[in-house]
Symmetry: C2
Subunit: 213 residues, 2 copies
C-alpha cells in the first residue's frame, strides 16, 4: 500500500478539520512530495475515497474565502482514527521495502506511546532479519554464487539496503530509548501542521524564484 492514506488521515487529524488544499500544503511542508506519491490528484482522491468508506466525514462548506471553487472540509471519524492507528502500527512494524510508508509513519510515530513505538521498531528489525535470511538462502545456488552472474548484484543491492535499514532502525530505537522526542501522554505534542494563516517556510520544493538553475 502507498503512504497516501496514512499521510492524509494524519494531516486531517492534526487539524481537526481540514480541506484538501490544507492537506496538500501540509504534505508539501513535510516534504512528502520528495519521498512519496503525494500529488494533488492522489490527495483529493484519497479524501473522497475515505469519505465514501466512512473514515472521514465530509462537510460541504460555503465557497472558499479566498477565490477558487467551493471547498469541502473533512474530519476524521472514529473508524478513521482506528484505521489511522492500524496503518501507523503496520507501517512501522512491517518491512515492505518501500520507504514512503515508513517515512510517513516516522512523522506520526509520536502519536504512539514511547514503549509501543520501540516495540514496533524491534518487530521491524526482526522482520528485516527474517527477510534477509529467506532471501539469501533462497538465492544462493548450489553451484556457488558465480552461477548467478551479475544477477547476484540485485540480491546484493537488496541485502545491502536491508542492512542499512536495520541499522537506521537500531539508531532510532536508541534515540527513543534515550529519551528523545515527546511521545503520546508525555506533555505538549509536537505541532507539525501549518496554521490557517501561516506560510510555508520551505516554499514550493524549489528555492526562491529567480534563483540559478
Amino acid at each position: 500500500m502507498s503512504a497516501i492514506r496514512l499521510l492524509v488521515l494524519g494531516a486531517v487529524r492534526m487539524h481537526g478539520r481540514a480541506h484538501g488544499y490544507q492537506v496538500r500544503n501540509d504534505l508539501e511542508y513535510w516534504g512528502a512530495h520528495e519521498w512519496s506519491n503525494a500529488k494533488p490528484g492522489s490527495i483529493y482522491h484519497a479524501l473522497k475515497q475515505m469519505a465514501k468508506q466512512g473514515l472521514l466525514l465530509a462537510h460541504e462548506t460555503a465557497p472558499s474565502t479566498a477565490g477558487g471553487p467551493p471547498r469541502t472540509e473533512y474530519e476524521v471519524t472514529e473508524k478513521g482514527l482506528e484505521e489511522y492507528r492500524a496503518l501507523l502500527r503496520d507501517a512501522i512494524r512491517s518491512y515492505d521495502r518501500n520507504m514512503d510508508v515508513l517515512s510517513a509513519a516516522v512523522g506520526f510515530v509520536v502519536d504512539l506511546p514511547r514503549e509501543e513505538a520501540v516495540a514496533l521498531l524491534k518487530e521491524r528489525i526482526e522482520g528485516i532479519r527474517e527477510w534477509r535470511e529467506a532471501v539469501t538462502e533462497y538465492y544462493t545456488p548450489e553451484e556457488g554464487p558465480e552461477s548467478l552472474g551479475h544477477i547476484g548484484e540485485i540480491m546484493n543491492l537488496w541485502v545491502h539496503s536491508a542492512d542499512s535499514g536495520a541499522e537506521w532502525t537500531r539508531g532510532l530505537i536508541a534515540r527513543i530509548e534515550g529519551g528523545a522526542y515527546t511521545f503520546a501522554g508525555e506533555g505538549d505534542p509536537f505541532v507539525g501542521v501549518l496554521a490557517d494563516d501561516e506560510e510555508n517556510p520551505y516554499a514550493t520544493g524549489v528555492r526562491d524564484p529567480g534563483d540559478d538553475e
Copy 2:
C-alpha cells in the same frame, strides 16, 4: 515510473519472441515479484500497451500447445529497442529512491558496454551526492535541527539510505572495473531466461509443495 516496462521489454528481448506467460515466468525466475510490482495483470497490461505504442509487435498465434487460452507472442521492434536502452540508461543513471527500477536495470546492465555502465553508475553517485546536499541544506532550519523534532528523523532516514545506496554503487563500480561479469561485446552473454521447456529452479516463491509452512 515503475520498472515494469523495462522488465518486460528486457524479457521479451532476451527471448526474441515471447508470450505473456513466458515473460511472467522469467520475472518470477528473476525474483522480480520480491522487489517490484510484477503481477500478471501488470505484465499483460504492459505488453498490450507497448504493442499499442509500437514498441512491441504482437503476433496472434494458434491456440497454445499446452491447454489454456490462445496466446499472443510479442517481439521487440526497433522503436522498442531504443526505448529499452533509454529506460535502461535512465534507470542506472538517475537516483529516484525507488529501488525496483534500479534492480531491474542491474539485471540488464551487461547489455551495455562496460565503460558506459561504469560512466552511468558514476553519474548515479553524483546524482545521489547532489540530492543529499540539496535535502540536508533544505531541511536544516536556522534554529538548529532540534526545531524539527522527530520530523528530522525522516530526513535522517533518507540520508542514511542515500549513503547506503552510494556505497553499494561504489562497490559495484569497483567490481565492474575489476573485470567482473561479461558485458556487451565481450563474448557469450549471460543467459538469464528460461528456455521453453526448462523448469524454474526457484519454484513459485514458496519452497516445494507439501513442505512445512
